[in-house]
Symmetry: C2
């Protein structure tokens, strides 16, 4: 219609799962690349709250955002269009009504490209969405764009978002350790910094980069991969304090007892409740104080570690923008059910290139911290881990400040006029909502 | 002796109490100013672990540190010479043996200047030390150099160290809020960020700067000054989530129940133990989750907020260096029992100058958050608070990075040859240690 060639179609972009410091940089790069290819791609609609925006037909028309706003997105943490934790079953098998709705929306808005920006779960969703042409006859290129601080996506050397969280944790560990070292004569002897990572210890491994040698903090790292041996831990803390005067510890929120219980859940159990993870650092601090009589401070960075755009890694930012651009190129090259990946050419000097991975081999699987990334003692990272991790935290990025605070993008976030009746006539939405990840 | 004029005497510098991101910048500026006045001041000895270094005759000879190291101190968090929480009683009244030892050490090392770099408790110690000439006949100029993230020192517009912690908290709050705002559709609805400040809410007030208007996070601030009203709090959280989709909360570690118990101590009480503060944020998170059924994340920044030199305030850094230099000038002008202070000339544009305050009026008292810094509702900062706080977080500072991490000073930290027998013949040290602050 309107004389435009039939191959010029609109795109749908969605953010999925936990956000990162550089997720919006991927979005900006992707949208800019679409704009640069306006002979093939019309508008980019961003789902308000990710894929929910497609179901609700809440499509943010990014063509109304200025170039200045897109540039500002580059240094805005979080997910500017809203993210969602939402899983869909198999196309044509489960959740058929959900797919029908998605196809209705895609057809109504002439959407021929889907860019789904998330982690392992989202890779699976993208793979399912890629069956839409076959099952529903609606032509659609489905590209997954990798993102997660957890660094657990297969077939890519690293996941955009991880490098910045890793840098935040390594920097914070080094700075806090300098603080603790000052106070040991009369006050705090033990400090515990907790990292995210329920299943894998990538984040706690990153804290190990703060150490220059074996004599510098952090002295002990507690990985999600290794069962927590209380007596051995206390002995090591005690030995470290005897040797260095203090002990700095990095711990993964996912630390478990040998019988598989989350350490962070123990206080809730004591109080007769069973709730979401309550922080492993305070549990360790109470243990150290109670058993060893040492004054112990602790910090739980939580969202700070994944939103700290002010200390993002320049390398990570470059990755995040590159996968955004490459996703568009892959779609325009006729690819579907794939994602752009980061391939490492060398550690030192660090060199990398873009590659492409088939989603069929990736979805719903997790990349674990290799066993040889942990020292034989089990309490620190190996030289191999350092060689892998160090390039990912290299470089600092420019962030504009106003009035002493970082400036974030303010989107107009205007949604396109709805063309369909509201979804949810049979309560499908509630049903789907119940199956969402928590 | 050695033909040098009798007025050329050595200086003793000590760091005291909780450290800050810019404490070492004060030290560097002070030492450099002493070096620039080498006709009057000989060596600067820094106490290893603060005043304990004087008692132990563990005097770090800073003349052996290079100019490069002093420059690096400027961007090194913590207390590079070691800090101590240590209170001494009145000279000539209590702790007489402690003063005798100090005077012995000062005499042995020809120390005529004491620069004591700390908070309210240290101001009192400096005031007591200033009685040494009168009680012991040893000439000594005693200058307190203000420092504390708590911002509770009287007679100065602000305390060096506070502005950087305030900036860290405001930046972290703004970034984390952007993260939370992304996730509200299917995941986290409430986020709690905990600030230090056991007695005063200066730090939690700083988080309020992250708000651009009343419609932006943080939505609720819980000050140490205001008793925690559980039902009203839950109602406000619920209302905020209903209105904005999410609720971001800043809380002071010193939050108390109306009957005066620390909220952070409640879990330990439940578990039948009575220990150090365990974090108020997880308690609030469990409350919100348990009573309102909302997914809640929380972070406790702890030492990260006072060591985050990478995001220090340029204004705070300028204050920290200025008081270091001015302390030396005051001593050389023959002053004692005083401290250099920051005087505000205007809020906007922010202009300030140095002043001097008598320690007699300051010591052991605390500057509280003014009542009119809190809004009438009690849950946010007033315009007056913003006008006061905003200048203190202005400007970013250059921090050198190597391998993706901030570079910190590495001191030689060589102690001067001891001239006295070891202290502690009658167990005085143990006795004093028992009276130390915890």
């Amino acid at each position: 219609m309107n004389g435009r060639p039939p191959q010029r179609r609109n795109a749908f972009y969605a953010q999925a799962g936990g956000v990162t410091a550089v997720l919006n940089a991927t979005a900006a790069a992707l949208i800019e690349t679409c704009r640069a290819n306006d002979d093939r791609i019309g508008k980019v609609f961003a789902g308000r709250s990710g894929i929910l925006g497609a179901l609700d037909e809440a499509l943010i028309d990014t063509s109304l955002e200025s170039e200045e706003t897109l540039r500002a997105l580059r240094h805005t943490p979080g997910g500017a269009f809203g993210s969602a934790r939402f899983r869909i079953g198999r196309a044509g098998l489960e959740d058929h009504a959900v797919y029908e709705r998605l196809v209705d929306v895609f057809r109504a808005h002439d959407i021929g490209y889907v860019f789904y920006n998330g982690g392992n779960g989202s890779a699976d969703t993208t793979l399912q969405l890629s069956r839409i042409p076959e099952v529903f006859g609606h032509p659609l290129a489905c590209i997954h764009v990798p993102k997660t601080i957890d660094n657990d996506i297969l077939d890519t050397d690293c996941s955009p978002g991880f490098g910045s969280a890793a840098k935040y944790l390594a920097v914070s560990m080094r700075e806090a350790a300098a603080d603790v070292a000052s106070m040991t004569a009369t006050s705090t002897r033990v400090f515990v910094l907790e990292a995210m990572g329920r299943h894998a210890g990538w984040m706690v491994a990153a804290m190990g980069l703060a150490a220059d040698s074996h004599n510098h903090p952090p002295h002990l790292l507690l990985f999600a991969e290794r069962p927590f041996e209380e007596e051995e831990f206390l002995r090591r803390v005690s030995d470290t304090v005897a040797r260095h005067g203090y002990c700095v510890i990095g711990v993964s929120e996912g630390l478990r007892t040998p019988d598989g219980r989350f350490i962070a859940e123990i206080p809730a159990t004591i109080a007769g409740r069973n709730e979401q993870l309550g922080g492993v650092a305070p549990v360790l601090a109470r243990l150290v104080h109670g058993r060893l009589g040492l004054k112990c401070h602790w910090a739980t960075a939580d969202y700070l570690q994944r939103s700290a755009r002010h200390i993002a890694s320049a390398t990570d930012l470059a990755h995040a923008e590159a996968v955004g651009r490459e996703a568009v190129r892959l779609a325009l090259a006729g690819r579907t059910a794939v994602m752009p990946v980061i391939e490492r050419i060398s550690d030192h000097p660090y060199r990398w290139q873009l590659g492409v991975a088939d989603l069929a081999g990736i979805a719903t699987r997790e990349k674990c911290l290799p066993r040889d990334f942990i020292t034989d003692s089990g309490y620190h990272i190996s030289a191999r881990a350092r060689a892998y991790l160090l390039p990912l935290i290299q470089g600092e990025t420019d962030v504009p400040f106003r009035d002493g605070l970082p400036v974030h993008a303010r989107l107009r976030a205007v949604t396109a006029r709805k063309k369909l009746p509201p979804w949810d006539p049979h309560g499908e939405r509630q049903q789907v909502a119940l199956s969402k990840k928590t």
